[in-house]
Every structure is written in C-alpha cells, then in structure tokens.
C-alpha cells in the first residue's frame, strides 16, 4: 500500500516534469529558440508565436506554463479522479489563487522558509484529505518579469530563486 504522502510526492513529480517539459520543449522552442512565425489572417502579415495570458483569444498564442498546469488540473477535476491540485501564492495575480484554508496559509508560510514540502491533514466538506504543498521557485527571468510587471500582481520585487508560491496537491484519505 502506498501512503498518501508518497502518492502526493509522485503526483508532484509528474506535474513538475510535465511543466518543465512544456516550458522548455514547447514554449521556449517555439517562441525563443526557433522564433516560429505563422500567417496572421487578421493582418495579412505574420504573427510570431508567443505564450500569453489571453491565449484563447489570440492567434499563434500558447498558454503560459502556469496556465497549462491549471488546464491539466481542471481536466483531472472534471474526470472526478479524486485528487485535486493547483498553484497558490500569497501574492497571486488572481485573488482566487490566494491561500484559503488554514492548512494552505500555514504551509505557504512554512515552505517560503524551509523550501521543503509541507504536509497536513484537512477536513473539507464531506471529505478528508492529505494536503501536500511544494515550494514553487522562480526558475527563469520570464517568471519574475511577468509577475513583477503584471498590473494585477500584488508583489513586484520577485527575484530568480525566490519561492513565489506553492503547488498544492490534495489526496483523499479515509
């Protein structure tokens, strides 16, 4: 029997690997390394591939890596897979991603100092969960630049290497 904590660690490994692969091998490859351009039907010119917050409404636009992760999380939730995950921060661009439960608040505060995962048990509604929170570190200039310059961002002094928030994974337990 695999423990809930071990399960959360494994799920986090998959999420982190997919996010890294998408960032490096899709976004960076298309937008930076190869600078791919495509026909822009609205201007009769060319549009350069980019990753953008409003990608759904823009031609040649890719979801940002954080949005890609959320898209996956939504699919998992809709599949009623049982586990839930997301990206939270004390300084979110969208207020909905601010810590909400006591366990989330305590964990985000703790991991900013320890830079290590935090685990807690939570009762939410009719369910019981192991809530695991993993530090989300700014690994590239693009991360801090976007957050520091975004008009909705409540914090504008991030530096590469800072803990910007946490990946929260909930595993249902009996």
């Amino acid at each position: 029997m695999v423990s809930a904590r071990r399960t959360a660690d494994m799920v986090h490994a998959v999420i982190a690997a997919d996010r890294h692969a998408y960032t490096v091998h899709v976004v960076n490859r298309l937008t930076v390394a190869h600078r791919i351009t495509v026909v822009d039907p609205l201007s009769d010119g060319e549009a350069r591939f980019s990753a953008s917050e409003s990608w759904r409404n823009e031609h040649a636009s890719l979801p940002l890596p954080a949005q890609m992760m959320r898209l996956g999380a939504e699919r998992v939730a809709e599949a009623r897979a049982g586990i839930h995950y997301g990206l939270l921060s004390p300084w979110p661009i969208n207020d909905q991603n601010r810590p909400k439960t006591e366990a989330e608040r305590a964990a985000l505060s703790r991991i900013a100092e320890t830079r290590a995962p935090s685990y807690a048990h939570e009762a939410l509604g009719d369910g019981y969960y192991l809530t695991a929170v993993y530090p989300d570190v700014a690994v590239a200039d693009a991360c801090v630049q976007c957050h520091n310059e975004h008009p909705e961002s409540p914090r504008t002094d991030f530096e590469v290497g800072d803990v910007m928030g946490g990946v929260v994974i909930r595993i249902p337990i009996n």
Partner: protein, 451 residues
C-alpha cells in the same frame, strides 16, 4: 407525519406518471405536459424532452455540455465547473452549487427567470464574493445586484471587462483610426474540401449580344434529363459556385437521388463551419435536432407578417444566388421587425453599408446586420487559419457585452462600445445618436491601477 407521507406519495406517483406520459407522448402532445413555460432558448426544442432529461426526469450535466461546452470554452469561462469541484471551495458550493448548470439555469420557471435564462437572484455574486470591497476598494459601496449590469461583469464571459483588457483599451477614440472588419478567407478552405465534385453543368462562357447575355454550358455527370430553369442557371452562372466549379449535381444529387430542394446537409458538404454554426444558433437548432426547421411564426421576437415560413440556409442565401449581400441585410429584415431591426435602415451603420456598396467607402467599412450579428472570426481548418463568418448569431447576442470584443472592437473604442451597449434606448434606435449613460468600468480599472 401521516400527512407528510401522503404528500410525498402523491408527489412521487403524480410526478412519475407525468414523467412517463411526457416521454411517451409525441410532438405537440408533449407541450401540454410541460411543468412550466420554457426559456426563449430551449422552447424551440421542447418536443424533445430526451435532449435534456434523463429517464428519471432529471437533467444530466452532459446534456448542457453537449450544446454549450464549446461556447463556454471559447469565451474563457470565468467560472468553469472544475473550479467548484475543488474541495477548497466546498463552502461556496454549499451556497451555490455551480458544479451543475441547472443551479442557475433552472428550466420551466418563467416567473423566476431573468435575462440570460438565469434563475438565481440578481445579487447571487455575493455568495462567493461578499468581501470584494476589501479586495478591490474601487468596488466599495456598490450593490451586488449591479455586478452584472452591462459593461461590468458576467458570470461566464468577461473577455471585454477583465481589468487588464479595460486598461489596455482605456484611451481609445469612439471610432478607431481604421474601422473595418477583417477580410474573409473562406474560399481557400472550401476549395480544399471539394474533392468529389459531381458537376452536371459547367459554365463555359458568357457573351453579350444585342442587349442579351448568353451563357454556354456543357452537361456532365448524372441526371442529364434534369435541365432546371434558365433563370436558375443564369443565377448560378453569375455565382461564386460557378466560378468555383460547383455545379447542379453537387447540391441537388445526394446518394444517387436527385432532389429538387436540397437540404442544409448539402450546404454542409462544403460549408461545414458555417452550417455547424447555424445549427448551434437559434436559427438552426431545431433542424440540428431532426425537428422541422424553425419558423418565424413560432418566434418569440417580433417578426414581419410576411416573413418566410421556415429558416434554412437558403432562406437567407437564396437557392442559387451566392452573393451574400441579401443575406447580410434584406434577409434579416424580411423576418425581424422589432424596434432595433426596423431602426437599422435609418442608422449610421446602414449609411456606412450603403457607402461601401456604392463604392464611396473602402471595402469592409460598411456595417450590415450580419457585420454585427454574424461576426467574422478566425477559425482553423486543416491547420490553416481562416477568417470565417460566424453563423451562430446567438453566440454574441445576450448578454450584450458578449459583442464588445468579437464585434464592436473592430471599429469602436472600448469605452464607447460599453456605453453604447448599456444604453437601452440607443440600442432600440440602432445606435442613431450618442450614448446617454456612462459605465465606469474603465474608470474603475484605472483607479484600481493607482490604488
């Protein structure tokens, strides 16, 4: 206690019998068994209870998704179901269970239904956003009942009212420097899909002789005994179909059967994107569900007395004419006779349309009914981006602010578009005049930037 049990028994038995009868009845008979009038969206398909209801009489979420999921995705739904499946939001879900569409869109309750087929009170945003004034000081003092006023917020579609978008378009003039819609590029994808043309007539040549225009055809393919009228052939010869090599049999012949009146399915062979859009909107939703085509006589909007009897592809486009000019204005006004529609001919939009048709203004600067209600958008087919005409007019109809980004913003500044759409009288006059009210959405977004 006994009374409660008897009540429950009565409800169960009568409900079960009613449900059984409803599913067992056919067509018009079913309408008599409705528990209450259906909304202006679903009344067209009310004979087909099974489209929404399960055998037990409930409503499956998958039934809502089957028709609306794609639309919600495109509008970047601000409240996706997944958000409410997350256990961290259980407290909000216990107040407003937004995991199911029917929590806010309960059918057959005409007295409790407001704009957008919403059956929640106007102030339902308070269920989750009670502390919004603390998060956003710019919202202090506002009533929750005003959250979803035109130009402010919408539960699903906030593409035009997201703070970042408001700020990015804060200082635009009422009329943009180059007001025009994008050019259609649909012909390239149509051509790529026409691989099995069954051309019966090929238009060879056109000559003018003694004031008469003569066409030369060559007959090919099947059904050679069918000639059609000279009028039909002449219309066809002038059409884009003739130019594209699409002949009589391509539309009239289906699986070796010659049809005098081709169905919408024949159009779909080549115009798939347009036809599928038509089927998703209120013009084509009956046909999409194997019901008789929508009839203007059954519409709940004000219709002209002499409107056609049904709405199909050829009601607007004409069976042989393939110029879209009639479909862009005259076809609409042939049915729609409400204040907004009747005011179009005296509107500045129509004046711009006439100028373009007269060659007095650049292409794509005129504004027909279709320009706004069947807007052009980028679609993808076989990997190619195309600017196509959206044939689902319901996509941007209500609430009105759904038009701002995909429609108004081609020509107008954001602030003007928001104010104009919020002015009911101006909408009724088809935008003849200036907005007489101001929505503070952009002002609030700019103030928030400085807070």
């Amino acid at each position: 206690m006994r009374a409660i049990l008897i009540g429950l028994l009565w409800t169960t038995v009568t409900g079960g019998v009613a449900g059984y009868l409803a599913l067992d009845a056919e067509g018009e008979e079913r309408k008599l068994l409705l528990p209450g009038d259906t909304t202006s969206a679903h009344y067209q398909i009310v004979e087909q209870c099974e489209l929404c209801h399960t055998d037990g009489g409930g409503v499956a979420q998958s039934a809502c998704a089957a028709c609306h999921e794609d639309e919600l995705w495109r509008m970047d739904n601000s409240h996706p179901m997944a958000k409410f499946l997350d256990p961290r939001n259980h407290a909000e879900v216990s107040i407003l269970d937004a995991r199911k569409c029917i929590t806010c869109h309960t059918e057959h309750q005409p007295n409790a239904t407001s704009t957008g087929a919403v059956t929640q009170p106007r102030d339902h945003c308070a269920a989750c956003h009670a502390d919004i004034a603390e998060e956003r000081p710019s919202h202090r003092g506002l009533e929750f009942a005003s959250c979803q006023n035109v130009g402010c917020h919408n539960f699903h579609d906030n593409r035009a009212t997201a703070a970042a978008f408001l700020r990015a378009h804060a200082n635009e003039p009422d009329l943009l420097a180059d007001p025009r819609v994008p050019e259609r590029t649909m012909y390239t994808y149509i051509a790529s899909s026409v691989s099995t043309i069954k051309t019966m007539y090929t238009y060879i040549d056109r000559t003018d002789s003694g004031g008469q225009t003569m066409y030369t055809y060559t007959a090919e393919g099947r059904a050679p005994d069918w000639q059609g009228s000279e009028h039909a052939r002449t219309q066809w010869a002038l059409s884009a179909h003739a130019r594209g090599g699409v002949g009589c049999a391509d539309c009239h012949q289906r699986e070796d059967t010659w049809r005098k009146n081709p169905s919408d399915a024949a159009c779909r062979d080549c115009h798939q994107t347009a036809t599928d859009g038509f089927f998703r909107g209120r013009h084509g939703m009956r046909a999409a569900h194997d019901l008789s085509p929508m009839s203007p006589a059954d519409a709940r909007l004000v219709m002209a007395d002499d409107a056609p009897t049904e709405v199909t592809c050829t009601s607007c486009h004409g069976p042989h004419e393939t110029s879209t000019r009639r479909a862009a204005v005259a076809a609409c006004l042939g049915c729609h006779a409400d204040d907004h529609s009747r005011a179009y001919l005296d509107s500045p939009h129509h004046a711009a349309w006439k100028r373009e048709l007269a060659g007095l203004a650049p292409p794509r600067t005129g504004v027909s009914c279709a320009t706004c209600h069947l807007p052009r958008r980028v679609a993808y087919r076989d990997g190619l981006p195309e600017v196509v005409v959206t044939h689902n007019q319901s996509l941007t109809m209500r609430p009105r602010e759904k038009m701002i980004r995909p429609v108004c913003s081609s020509c107008h500044g954001l602030g003007f578009a928001i104010d104009a759409l919020a002015d009911d009288a101006l909408v009724d006059r088809n935008f003849r005049g200036q907005p007489e009210r101001h929505v503070e959405a952009i002002d609030m977004a700019m103030r928030a930037d400085n807070e």
